[in-house]
Each structure stands twice: as structure tokens, then as C-alpha cells.
């Protein structure tokens, strides 16, 4: 992920993203709210209050309505992601091939459930209730930009540790944890 929360959300970038949304009337503006939020969520990994305010202003709506959308649709986050972001597929194929054990193991080993970030800010886990579509290698996860399949709790742990180690190896100094607050999925 190019943008981490150390930098916060660059509101100039949000404004630039918003400038591509040019509704011709109020109806179309409303139709574009979700797309606009998706663009921001995609770019920064979450939608902050400040970013939501810009969207609300640009598309002539209220920040309250936007918060209602952010908390209804599962793809959105209102808190920053950890340095690594993992989608854990919990579709039916992954379930029948054991994804439940992966979910449980993440809880035991890292203390994270759906939507949570580890206390050290390394990893955010999002459990996908739909399907990531790589069913013949189930159970699978998508960690950052790569897919990993045929997982067991131990191989998943290896995958996570290797990703963290690989990133650390490329960093000169260890940065401060980005997010010591646990996001609140309730």
C-alpha cells in the first residue's frame, strides 16, 4: 500500500480524486457517493472523517449520511489499515476446506478478528464473507497484493511472518506503530 497512516490522509489528494466526479444534477451526485468513497478507500485503505467531509461537500450531502454508508457496506474502513492488509476468504469453498481454523488461529496467535489490526500495527485482517474467486486453492488469503492458497494455520503464519520480515528488511529504521488503537468492529 502506497499510503500508510503515518502520513494520514492527504486531503489535497482527496480533492484531486473528487475532481473527477462531475455530477450533472443532484440525482447523479447521490449516485456517485459510493463510487467516490470507494476510490478513497481504495487509495488510502480507509475513509477518515476529514475525507468524508470533502466528499459530502463535493456531492452536496451530509457527513452523517456518508458515515451511514461507511458503516453499512463491508468494504469500507473508517480506521487506518496496518502495514500489511490481509483479506481472508471465508467463502463456502474456503469454509469446507478449513478457513474456520485460519480465523481461529489468527485470533489465538495475533488476537485479531474481522476488521482488527494487531496492536503493533503490522497486520489488519478483513474476513471476506463473499468469495475471492480462487476456489480450487482454498482456503486462500490475499495478503497485500498476493494470493496464497492451500493454507493451514501454520503455513498462513509463515506467509504473514515472511511478509513482515521482507518489508522490515527493506526499511532502514523501524517506524512507530501506526495504530495502537484497536479498531472497534462493534
Amino acid at each position: 500500500m502506497a499510503h500508510t497512516a503515518e502520513a494520514g490522509i492527504d486531503l489535497a489528494v482527496v480533492r484531486e480524486l473528487m475532481s473527477h466526479f462531475k455530477p450533472q444534477d443532484h440525482q447523479e451526485a447521490q449516485e456517485l457517493i459510493l463510487s467516490a468513497l470507494q476510490e478513497i478507500n481504495e487509495h488510502f485503505g480507509y475513509v477518515s472523517l476529514e475525507a468524508a467531509e470533502i466528499v459530502a461537500e463535493h456531492l452536496d450531502t451530509t457527513v452523517n449520511r456518508i458515515y451511514g454508508l461507511l458503516t453499512f457496506y463491508a468494504d469500507f474502513r473508517t480506521e487506518p489499515r496496518g502495514r500489511h492488509f490481509m483479506l481472508l476468504c471465508h467463502g463456502m469453498s474456503c469454509y469446507v476446506m478449513g478457513s474456520q481454523q485460519l480465523v481461529q488461529d489468527l485470533k489465538d496467535r495475533y488476537g485479531v478478528g474481522d476488521g482488527d489490526t494487531t496492536p503493533d500495527g503490522e497486520l489488519t485482517v478483513q474476513v471476506v464473507n463473499g468469495c475471492l474467486g480462487v476456489c480450487d486453492r482454498a482456503p486462500i488469503v490475499k495478503l497485500d497484493d498476493s494470493f496464497y492458497g492451500d493454507l493451514t494455520p501454520d503455513t498462513l503464519n509463515d506467509v504473514i511472518q515472511r511478509a513482515i520480515a521482507a518489508r522490515r528488511a527493506t526499511e532502514d529504521t523501524d517506524v512507530n506503530p501506526i495504530n495502537d488503537r484497536r479498531s472497534n468492529p462493534a
Binding site: 468494504d75 467463502g91 469453498s93 469454509y95 469446507v96 474467486g133 480462487v134 492458497g149
Partner: protein, 577 residues
Amino acid sequence: MSTQSTTAAQTRLSSRAEFEAYRERAEQRWASLWNGNQTVVSVGIGSCSVAKGALDVLAACETALQGQAGIVRQVSCDGACWMEPWIEVKRPDQPPVIYGNLSPDEIPDVLAGRLEERAIGVRAEKPLGAILPLVSHPFFKHQQRIVLANVGVIDPDSIEDAIARGAYSAYLKVLFDLSGEEAIAELTASNLRGRGGAGFPAGIKWESGRKAKARPKFVVCNSHEGEPNVYKDRRIHEGDPHRILEGILIACIACGAERGYNYIGGEYPLAIKRFRRAVQDAERLGLIGKDVLGSGKNVAFRVRTGGGAYICGEGSALMYSIMGVRGQPRTKPPRSVEEGIWKRPTVANNTETLANVPDIILKGGEWYAGIGTEKSKGTKLMTIQGPLKTMGLVEVPMGITLRTLIDEVWGGMRDGHQFKGIQTGGVSAGPLKEEHLDLPVDFDSLTEVGGMLGSGGFAVFDQHVCAVDYARYLTAFNRYESCSKCVPCRLGNPALVEILDRIRLGRGSESDLPLMDRTSKHIVELSLCGLGQVAPAPLLGMMKMYPEEFRAHIVDGVCPSGVCPISSDEVVLAAGD
């Protein structure tokens, strides 16, 4: 070597003759691609194959062909997940051969013809040496491809490829040769039923849309495939986006709608990207806009994307989502064909339904009605999950048996896995067992025994899966995805999960079984939308098919599959908690 560059559609076509001239050029280019003195390598790139390294295979193909007379093209995944990453090699004077399960370092050998044992089949009627025809492979043998005809064949980003293979011919027919009534009559004659799960006849829906008086009118394509075991619409978007677009445009013209929408699930970035590209190209060619091809007819188009809420697959919720609010279903009537998006008449169809439309218009409703069973016409896309050997998306005629699908098409169970049951209808129906496998797969037969065709998503499970635990998973999905509008669904599903957890932990009592029945009845009878009304169906199905497993947990205190944390003090919670 040259990478095939897609000729962008430059100029707007303003008449039927101009379109036909464009198609002729496209057909010539397509023919010369395959008849030339060069090697043509097509690589299947879809979200599924990218996950398995298909982009590296693509790069390896480009490197290997450098300095040679050859072309590397991108096509999409053709449904055969089990053979990815795959490539198709068309050598001069030979029919194309498909090689599967490749790694990048094998590519030079494959292209040089030194790895012929990796060939899956040849696209020809006769064998090529030891390589058998692809159509004789069990995975392909039973398929009849209408919707998937071009998937894995054309470059999905090339409108020229699509037009060379017949795209927009049916649209032209509807624009110039047929009246709206005549087009809808073909659809009615075909008896095409909605592919999203409910099976409502598409012709009747279009007819109501056409007759609706209020203006403007809309057509919306429901491409929000939120079920945890279905990936058919995503593959059509990735493989042949123009077919979907053409279907929507035909619906717009036939029903007299001003604007078409396609609502795509946000989880499918590649599907969205390719579909948006298709819309841009069609706009540039003048197939969307004002006075399309000089016909005097106008049609506008918008793509909208979802945000990962299963409920948005429900018609009215989807329309609320398009309008930028929470996707929560409303009471009906009025039906959406009377009051839909922005309170205007809206014809809503599933992606697969609309993707069938171009061929029905071109070849006639009679032709389509000749495929399938008495009450379920045509073909159906079906997806499979679970421990099977050759998994993937297939298009088969309605009426094929589950046994043929499982044992032949999908290759049978993997070693070490015994068939225990097959979950049908996504999360909206119950499982079926061995004794039901000879039933024909169509809209009605499975329903009689508690299953459902639904949108065609099946999941086979084996002896390692516990019926109680699986019921808990399916119920927990519905609990998580409940939109929270109605009390029975919002509170009933969590109650069911609690009871199931109690049973899984070995603390269930015999009274829990009737309690679950009663609670389910509340949800079924009192929920507002179709999804709430079927939310307890998987649980009820599991209880009906595997009563002995529920009793084993409650009475004997054991989980026969060894999955449930019986007698553990720890409360185990699953995703979504």
C-alpha cells in the same frame, strides 16, 4: 514478436452501413490473425489465474517469442480453474492447442513443442497426434456454450474482437429490424427465466417494463454476486463484457428505457475495469448515446459499483444502493418495474439473463426453447466449490444431473475425500445427499427435495465437514449480511447462531431442535425481503438431511466429524463476531 495492440475504436459510427463496414474489417483482421504464418499465443488472464501467476506466464511467453514471428494475446479465464495458468498455442497450419497448469519456466519448452504431455486438448474435431480434441475432455464434453461462447477466446479489452465474433449484431437487429414488441415476443417464446435465483420469466418482466407509462425508464443489470459460492457473473464480465452490455442495451431499446445501469459488486476490480473499458469503447463507437447509428434512438449508460453488502443483490436494495443510500429492501408492491430507481419504472435482470439475450434475438426464441427441459429452457452457468478434481465454471444445458456434473464435469472427489453432500442454492436452500444426485438440475426439480438451483452455485462437502458446524457457518453468513431492517431477521439469525453454538459446544438440549424450528418459522414468515425469508433454509435443510448428527451432538455429546469444540470450555467464535 509483437504484442497485439488493440486498435482503439477511433471514430463514431453514424449509420448501420458504417457499423457493418466496421464489422467486416474486424472480421477480416480476426481471420488474418489465425491464418497468418505466425504463432499466436493466447494467455488466460482472469482474477483467478492472476492469483496463480498467469501474469508471469504472460511475460514468459513474450520473452520466449522475442525475435520470432509470433503474437501474444490476452484472453480471459475460460472457466477451467483447474488448468490455470493456461495458454493456447496456435502454430501455423495447426489448430490451437491448449496447455495447462504451467509455470513460467516451462513456457520455452511448451512453445518449442517439447512438453506435449501438458496439452489439455486441441481446438479441433480430430486429434492432433496424441492430443485429443478439447471437446472430448469431460470438463468440456457436456458443455454447451452460449453465454460463454467468446469467453477465453476474445481479448476482453478489444471491442473489435467482440464485434468480429458477432457482438452487437442482435443490438442492430433490435435498433432497425424489430419493434420492441417483436423483440420481447422472441424473449417470451424462448421462455428465458431469470438466472439470479427466482426464475421469473424475463419476457413478462420486459413486457411490464415496456407498458409502464412514467418517464424516464431504466434497465438495471444485477451483477452483484454476493453469495459465498458463486463466481459466474464475474467471469462473464472478465471474459466477454460486450455481451452483457449488448444485452442491457437491447433491453433498453425493447422496453423503451432511457438509461441502462450495471451494478457490479465492488469485490471484482478486474470485472469492473474490463466492463468500464467496454462501455467506453462502445460509447466511442457510437453504440451508446444520442441517435445510435442514425436509428433515432437514444440510450445512456452508467456503471455503479457495490460495497460488499450481500443484501444489495436483492432488487430494491440494489436500487437504493445505486441511489447512494444504505441497501435495505422495501415492501412490495409497488414492484420495481412500477417504481424503481428514482421512483421510475425499472426493469432489473441478472447478468446471466441479459447475457443470453443477444443470441435469443439473433437465433430466435424457438431455437432457445429447444435447449433444456420442459419448464427450464436454455443453458445455465454453474460453479462448484469443494474437494473436486477439475473445478470451475461451466455452461451446461438445463436438465443435466448432479451426478454427471460431479463425477464427470468436475472430475469427481479428490483422493482422501468422500462425498457427504452438496449444498445448493448458495445460502438460500438446503443440502442434497447421494440419493438425490440423479435429479435433473433445473429450476423446479431440486426444490421438491429441499434444494434449489438458485444462481447455480454448488458446494460439495466431505466427511471432514460437520452438518451442525456447516449449518452454523451458513446461518452466521446470513446473520452477518442481514441488513437489520426487520426484527425477525436481525434478531432471529443471531438467536439461531447462539443455539447452534450451544450445540457445537456440547451444551445443547433436545428442546433446542424444536426451538430452532420455531425461530426459523418466525424469520421465514415475518421477514420482508426474499433473502430474509430464506435465511434459515440452510439450517432447516441440514436438520432434515442430517438429523442424526444433531442428535449425536445433543444426546451423545460427540461431534461425528470431530470438528465441533464439544466439551471445550472455550467459546469459539467465527468470522463476523
